[in-house]
Amino acid sequence: MPVRSSGFARQGWLLAVGSFATLVAGAAQAAEQKHGLSGEKASFPPFDPAHFASNLFWLAITFAALYWLMSKVALPRLGSIMEERAETIGRDLDQATEMQAKAEDMAQAYEKALAEARKNAQGIAQAARETGAKASDAQRHATEAELAAKMAQAEATIATTKTKAMGNVRDLGSDIAAAIVTKLTGQAPSASEASAAVDQALTRG
């Protein structure tokens, strides 16, 4: 999280310098008085005012330098580094989500293409099946027609043969009848009489 320094910092500088100057002066005065009172007995060093002025002076310098270095160099730089990192991470995450969305789209497109191809294949198979069935039907019909024609022909042949045969039988019958009549009566009937008699017998049954 980046942090910005404020306008108050400038007032803070004045405050710091002023208060330190006052303290240094006060400490120096205290040191003078202390030296005036006694000098021989070494006091506890942290409470010895002789060093207060020097300590304050150098603390002011070092702390001011530290504050300046931190507020002007280190902290803005670290803030920008962290901001940049947060941005980079955010950008990478965005990119990743984008990529993922793209991958999902592609997967969907693939699925769609696959389904379409499957449907097409089914259609083609159906069509092939239908044409095959039609072709075989046609062939069957042709064969059946051929066979029917052949059968009709055969039946016709049979019929003619039968009529011819029947004709022969009648002729033979009339011949035989004429011969029988001749043998019985000794008188040959005419051909027309014989055939009429045969016809009569045939119709009688």
């Binding site: 240094v24 060093p45 942290p46 702390f63 530290l66 931190m70 160099v73």
Partner: protein, 254 residues
């Protein structure tokens, strides 16, 4: 180190000038305290500035350390004061790092603890309180003094409450500076006393004393670990109390 045959545990706090410097009759000599202040400045700057000089998105060790310090202080400040308090971030950060580095560097053998000088901790505490008072008055005017008037107190009790609040406010810089100073001073004296025991026992010549000499040594080791904890904790306490006080300046209403 040895004073009158014994070990002087106070010697470590003795201030000795390195470079004499006396402008206008004021003793501003560069002493061992000053030297260690400069070392503290150098160490903190090295970590924070050199550490962040790579500006790498994936941080190295030193940069991680710098970032950890940054985020720790920023999190502490937002925790106490909210986002608004981050306007004091450079100040609190400098204060925290200065105290932390002083405390920790002071634990090195032969070093000098800057924060064991009451004038140093008092100056830092006064700096904090001055910023609180001046920022509070600049930002909120007389409303800032509402800090001393708790709400919902019966009228006859109000003067006492104001008095108590005022005393508690005035005691803040005292407690803030004495807490840090006392912890550092006492810890170092205790370490020195136990370290001194080891030397005295070994130097006594009696066999029994040789036998028990490791005991204070062990204690000194344990105390050193404790002092590391105290050093970090006191820096944290100093920083978080600074945040609490600054929060009063930001939001004076109780």
């Amino acid at each position: 180190m040895a004073a009158g045959g014994g070990i002087d545990p106070i010697h470590q706090f003795h201030i000795a000038p390195i470079v004499e410097l006396k402008p206008f009759g004021i003793d501003l000599s560069f002493t061992n305290t000053s030297l260690w202040m400069v070392i503290v400045l150098a160490v903190v700057s090295a970590i924070m500035i050199y550490g962040s000089s790579q500006r790498s998105v994936v941080p190295g060790r030193l940069q991680s350390l710098a970032e950890m310090a940054y985020e720790f202080v920023a999190a502490t400040m937002t925790g106490v004061m909210g986002k608004e308090g981050l306007k004091f971030f450079p100040f609190v950060f400098s204060l925290f790092m200065f105290v932390l580095a002083s405390n920790l560097l002071g634990l090195l053998p032969g070093s000098f603890t800057v924060t064991s000088q009451i004038i140093v901790t008092a100056a830092l505490a006064l700096l904090v309180i001055s910023i609180v008072v001046i920022y509070g008055i600049v930002k909120h005017g007389t409303h800032f003094f509402g800090l001393f008037v708790p709400s919902g107190v019966p009228g006859w009790l109000l003067p006492f409450m104001v008095l108590i609040e005022a005393v508690s406010f005035l005691s803040r810089p005292v407690s803030l500076s004495l807490r840090l100073f006392g912890n550092m001073l006492a810890g170092h004296i205790a370490l020195k006393v136990f370290g001194g025991f080891v030397v005295v026992l070994l130097g006594s010549g009696a066999v029994f004393n040789y036998a028990i000499a490791p005991l204070p040594l062990l204690l000194a080791v344990a105390l050193t670990a404790l002092e590391v904890l105290v050093a970090v904790l006191q820096a944290y306490v100093f920083a978080i109390l600074t945040c609490v006080y600054l929060n009063d300046a930001l939001h004076p209403g109780h």
